[in-house]
């Protein structure tokens, strides 16, 4: 049994220690935000916040999060109480198929926590681990800059 904090609430998963965090979150914790894209930390689709840092979850063994805090896109906000970044992504219509978005939102949260007023180059650098095949990049960059302008992340 591995215990950790998931989206602000205590969680305990009864899975082998070497199961990747991504698989544990999607299969056992019933989440759909973190997505499988490559399984080898090369695309960014699976990013989660681990104690506030944006990290890929697809290779990270579940045992590595014992006692730590994991936040997924579901933990950022909801339609009735959206995170400023989620509002900004909707305002900019930042996305096409949307498969890449949850990982990108997570890295954007980490960026704005570390640097509330980033410039465009800093946004690009923070999102560099993330692939978006639909070409939504410029809208995504605008959305992150908008969130930085309009809303202080909680």
């Amino acid at each position: 049994m591995i215990a950790f904090t998931l989206n602000g609430a205590p969680a305990a998963l009864d899975l082998p220690e070497d199961v990747p965090l991504l698989a544990a979150l999607r299969e056992a914790a019933g989440l759909s935000g973190p997505r499988f894209g490559c399984g080898v930390e090369a695309c960014g689709a699976c990013h989660v916040l681990l104690d506030g840092r944006s990290v890929p979850s697809c290779l990270l063994p579940l045992s590595a999060v014992a006692g730590r805090a994991v936040t997924t896109v579901e933990g950022l906000g909801s339609e009735t109480a959206p995170h400023p970044l989620q509002s900004a992504f909707l305002a900019e219509q930042a996305g096409q198929c949307g498969y890449c978005l949850s990982g990108i939102l997570i890295s954007a949260v980490a960026l704005l926590q570390a640097k509330p007023d980033p410039d465009e180059a800093e946004v690009r650098a923070a999102l560099e681990p993330h692939l978006c095949r639909c070409g939504s990049h410029n809208r995504i960059i605008r959305a992150v800059l908008r969130a930085a302008r309009e809303g202080v992340p909680a």
């Binding site: 499988f36 695309c43 219509q93 996305g95 096409q96 999102l127 692939l131 070409g135 939504s136």
Partner: protein
Amino acid sequence: MSATLPASLAANPRLSQWLGFTPDGAVVIRPGKVEIGQGILTALTQIAADELDVAIPRIRIETVATPTSPDEGVTSGSLSVQNSGVALRHVCAEARAIFLGVAAQGSGVPIEALRVEDGDFVGPQGAVGSYWTLAERGLLDGEATPGARAKPPAARVTAGTSTARLDLPDKVFGRPRFLHDMHPAGLLHARVLRLPSRGATLREVAPGPLPEGATLVRDGSFLAVLAEAEHVADKALARLARLAQWDEHDTLPDEGAMPAWLRQAAGESSVVAEHDRGEAPATRRIKRDFFRPLVAHASVGPSCAMACWTGEAVEVWSHTQGPYNLRLDLAKALRIPVESVVVRHVEGAGCYGHNGADDVALDAALAARGVPGRTVRVLWSRADELGWSPFSSAMLVEVEAGLDDAGNIAEFRLDVTSNGHSSRPGRGALPTLLAASTLDPPFAVPLAINMPVKGGGGAQRNAVPIYRIGKLNIGMRTITDMPIRTSAMRGLGAPVNVWAIEAAMDELAGLAGEDPLAFRLRHLDDARAAAVLQRAADMAGWAQRGTAEGTGMGLAVARYKNLGAWCAVVAEVAAEAEVRATRIWIAADLGEVVNPDGAVNQLEGSAIHATSQALKEAVRFDRRRVTSDSWDSYPILRFSEVPKVDVALIDRPEMPPLGAGEPAFGPTVAAIANAIHAALGVRPRAMPFTAANLAAAMET
């Protein structure tokens, strides 16, 4: 309105197949096209809201399922709004008239005195009924008739506005929406062990245990493992890979000599277009080759499908672009009647054409066959997605063109050599699905085809220049040997043909001593093409462009498929260790635009995709297998490399709508190539435009 039905509607004329109302105040629309990230569901909802006079939140969309939806073939070719939108507009306009007619008759209020307010039929004395009160009267059981009166463009309220994407909130809040997120009760997870190399056959599976709880599925050389837990299926796959013994042999050509392979491989030649206006002969000529390697769709989400058998029938959940077509090929590959297959569409990641979506559906049906009553999900790996999806064919385009003494284009010959650009399912006697050729007995792999020009073409798409030309000869050679499976990807042959034509136009302008913009405008009789070209040039400040060392601007224009949208692109590049695209300006004429922001989003996205293909992408292979099966070996454009993109739409609400997903692709590739010449003085001859390929072009 015209006296004929829109094509999609003529093929599926029953109104209730497209549209329904519920007594509790909802509208249900059932388009035959599917969401692939292009925003089609939102655009169709806007159209229905306008024609029915209902608010958008009342409208529910039923995604395609083969038992009930209209069969609109494949969602491709930038035709979603063009086909489905026009059909749905007709259906909604006709439904509105039928319902108002019944309400008028029942109430005695003349129909002219009735209007619709969010679904209520309101006369001078108040409401006399609604879609909801008449919902169960079977009023839509009849067939659509020609002549239904859609509203005039000026009366549209939501169509033509940038309504927010209806699917985006789910994606931004991480709610389950993709097929990958479905967890039906009793779900089993499967993994398929792909062949170690092309054409390999399974000799044996050496004895040895699989992880506890995992079971093996085998049919010929098709191998899969099943498990209750996904991580157990992953482990079992790794174990199985060590146990499987294969016979392998060389089947692939030499990657480094693909242009020569294209020249020598057996093929069928055909004339695409020719004319001779008997004008002055060419006195100055250019002759150039253009090569593009195989390229991959490279979806960010690997292909996924679920299947569940009941007796001899199977239900499949798929993010295919063509549920009805997939159904036909599943029946063939599974050797069961087509009536025994149901395909339900659920969204996946963007596909940009025929990727592994259909293949994985057969994988799921095969994996699930031995466990009737259980739903089985197959998720491809990254290596499967990049290594085994169909690719867009390698292409060779040869151009010979010349000017007469007056500087007019006297001759233009273009010959395109390529494999077919469609292996889409459902069109031939044999299934095109990947695993079909590994079964016992195996199916032969059908050759990819190039559709005729009137169907949009394949390799020859956009091979005919849009310029005034004295003597024109356009030919195509379709290769009849397919060592690596090829199929449809964004633009089909258009990106390479447009690049070749527009590079030649720049060279001809140089021969004529004229600016590339002026030279093109002088040879364009198509006013809508000239308008987008001038607009893009104005946006980019073409006339005032600078000449800074190592930077340059290029422009290009095309009419997609020669019958779709007009699009012009100006690109700016900077030559560093590699070439970088720094700015893209796009002007497009899409006819009526139902959702302007959605169209801009598509144009931007396709220009970034095209930039990635132009600068970075190539499928790599040795004599046995595709080796570019990871993001390291198949790199695509990243955040730090993405150009700024500006888009202008030329508004023509009175003209038929034309799709936005592909028209910018070819002009973007071409504009980048022309900008590279402006920056470096070298004409790219091979994609991708890497430093190595540009150095090779400099030597020739």
